[in-house]
Amino acid sequence: MSTALRRGVGWRPSPLARSLVVTGAVLVGVVAVALSVGAAATLGPADVSLVNVRDVLLNHLGSAQIPVTVTDDAIVWQERLPRALVAAASGAGLGLCGVVLQALLRNPLADPFVLGVSSGASTGAVLIGVLGVGGGALGLSSGAFVGALLAFGLVLLLARYTSNGSQGIVLAGVAGTHLFSAVTSFVVFAFADADATRGVMFWLLGSLEGMRWPQVWLAVGTVTVGAVVTLVAARSLDAFAFGDDVAASLGVHVQRTRVLLLVATALLTAVLVSIAGAIGFVGLVLPHAARLLVGERHRRVVPVTILLGALFMTWVDTVSRVAFQPTALPVGVGTALVGVPAFVALLVHRRSRS
């Protein structure tokens, strides 16, 4: 709020100039994301020359027929590129969910997992991975997806029958999160041995190991739909910042819009969690970073968060693949290790300027 007011008294560009600046910045961001994904395809523990990377990409993107080894092709096209794209999509999607939830719930500490989605996902994954529910027909991913949606549904029900408003939803989310965490711990404690849990837990901490093209399409597609929905609703998100009553007086269908956006973010988060596990930090902090950069208006915050998230995750994952070889650092660890200092630096910089 204070930022918005402060910006209001300074120089005021014409609406046309301003939208040109925003469009230009977004274009630069898109180019930066594309370059980062391209760079990620050239970096990794395996020794694949730049020329070979180019040839592999030309073969697939430009239908060239340059001979390359099967191994080089697999490393670049089946490992590094899908992985970088899923990283970018996860970063964008989690950032997006963070923006929406922080605005809807008027809570700066809201993140994509505040509504119990990640703990529901772990319960689902553990039930599949440890107890073998579904007899192997369901993978960990589908278990996580179903678990995430069940948890979210329960939280919505709780919120509906206990209280109204954003605070009630947050409290219901806390209750749901703890309940499902307890169920997960119980299953692990009672039925699992160390190795069975290790696989599930490693993945739940956030992992981009073994990403393939089907996951890429799923992640990119879902995030794109989510981004469009959010951009359309950007004005309503601005209105929510002033509270439900003001939003209603501004012509927003408070209850309907809130449920619609909550369901949209829950679906998006559930898809991302089922692909790459619960990657923390991104959804909580990047929206704040975006607000520090471009103010409070969601027409700007949403695209900037999406691009920041994509850039950030692509590079964090690349660094954690390269710097910790021959074993990869779980990406959820890397996001906080790299992200917290960067965020603190941004806060300090901002303060020293004002």
Binding site: V31, D55, L57, L61, Q325
Partner: protein
């Protein structure tokens, strides 16, 4: 806004292509290296293509693999024992120092990582065949699935000691039948066949069999109650009734007090241990410091000072047998484990 979003995918592809061209546009494509002509010949005892049954799947090997990566230490030690060091291009997941008799051969093989490597590190070794003792490497969160390896023409093998049908015990399954020595020897025969060194495989199995028989022939601990303690002081991991610890017990006449558990290494409480009143305690002497009590000295110190365990007869009389981690797990060092129990039995077996 929306217009620029819609233009995104072609824009991305274009930018990537432009950037790559700018970076490497002038570089000539590199020649694809041909398969090395100097293939190391095997014995000629295996005829290819060979199809073997491995963990519920049929594995077909077109020709003797020339670039082998072993993902686990036991697999590594079998391959080295079969004299295959010159065909190995990587090892991983080390839990103990290599067997002294194999140290020289092991020097010649690159160690990809101390723990599990990533998929890309594995591919960088350019393997044409991958072996593993534990199924977790092929599962979710592991190195790569076997299907994925097959996509790049990499064959794979999983130890029968970790399998029951197509279920990997280590990958999250549970045994329903007890592990047998036949499964241990089957792994050696399988690998010897895949790599065309069947005579060496037969010799290795014969040697291990002879040593195992020599050790067990003179050992019968006459049903003494035994507690196998692998690791951890808070909730000790102990040998269950279907795994390799039970196999050691069966072969030497020990009565494993936790044989009713179906897990390989279930975690139990000290109260259960004391209630079972073991007469012999088999201790894991692990070469790592991950959990309290990994080392032999720590285990003994714990048993002698813990108010619950210090008055057990086995503790007062120091009836301890120390085995390394690999000797307690399904591996060729299982025979070393048998020999250690036999030696202990000869010296202390009767003084109870």
């Amino acid at each position: 806004m929306l217009r620029s979003r819609a233009a995104r995918p072609p824009l991305v592809a274009g930018v990537v292509a432009l950037a790559l061209l700018a970076l490497t546009g002038c570089g000539a494509s590199e020649a694809v290296p041909q398969a090395t002509g100097t293939a190391t010949a095997g014995e000629g005892t295996t005829s290819y293509p060979l199809t073997i049954e491995d963990c519920g799947r049929r594995v077909t090997v077109e020709s003797a693999p020339q670039r082998i990566v072993s993902l686990d230490q036991n697999s590594t030690e079998i391959l080295l024992s079969l004299g295959l060091a010159d065909r190995m291009v990587g090892t991983a997941s080390w839990t103990d120092p290599v067997l002294p008799s194999l140290a020289a051969a092991n020097e010649r093989v690159p160690r990809l990582s101390d723990n599990a490597p990533t998929y890309e590190v594995l591919l960088d070794a350019r393997p044409d065949f991958v072996t593993a003792s534990f199924g977790r490497h092929y599962g979710q969160g592991g190195v790569a699935s076997r299907e994925r390896l097959a996509e790049t023409g990499i064959g794979s093998y999983l130890s029968p000691t970790d399998c029951e049908g197509d279920v990997s015990i280590n990958g999250g399954g549970k045994r329903t039948q007890a592990l047998t020595t036949a499964q241990l020897y089957r792994e050696i025969h399988d690998l010897a066949e895949v790599f065309d060194v069947q005579r060496r495989g037969d010799a290795l199995v014969a040697e291990l069999r002879a040593r195992a028989e020599a050790a067990t022939a003179r050992t019968d601990l006459d049903g003494q109650r035994a507690f196998f303690w692998f690791a951890d002081t808070k909730t000790p991991y102990v040998a269950g009734g279907l795994g390799s610890g039970q196999l050691l017990a069966d072969e030497t006449g020990l009565d494993n007090v936790f044989r009713s558990s179906r897990d390989d290494w279930p975690a139990v409480g000290w109260e259960q241990v004391v209630a079972a009143d073991p007469q012999v305690i088999v201790l894991g002497d692990l070469q790592r410091d991950r959990f309290p009590g990994d080392r032999l000295d720590d285990k003994i110190a714990f048993l002698e000072h813990d108010p619950l365990t210090k008055d057990l007869d086995a503790v007062r009389n120091h009836r301890f047998v120390a085995l390394h981690g690999a000797e307690l797990n399904p591996s060729i060092r299982f025979v070393d484990g048998l020999e250690k129990i036999a030696r202990w039995s000869a010296e202390h077996g009767d003084d109870r």
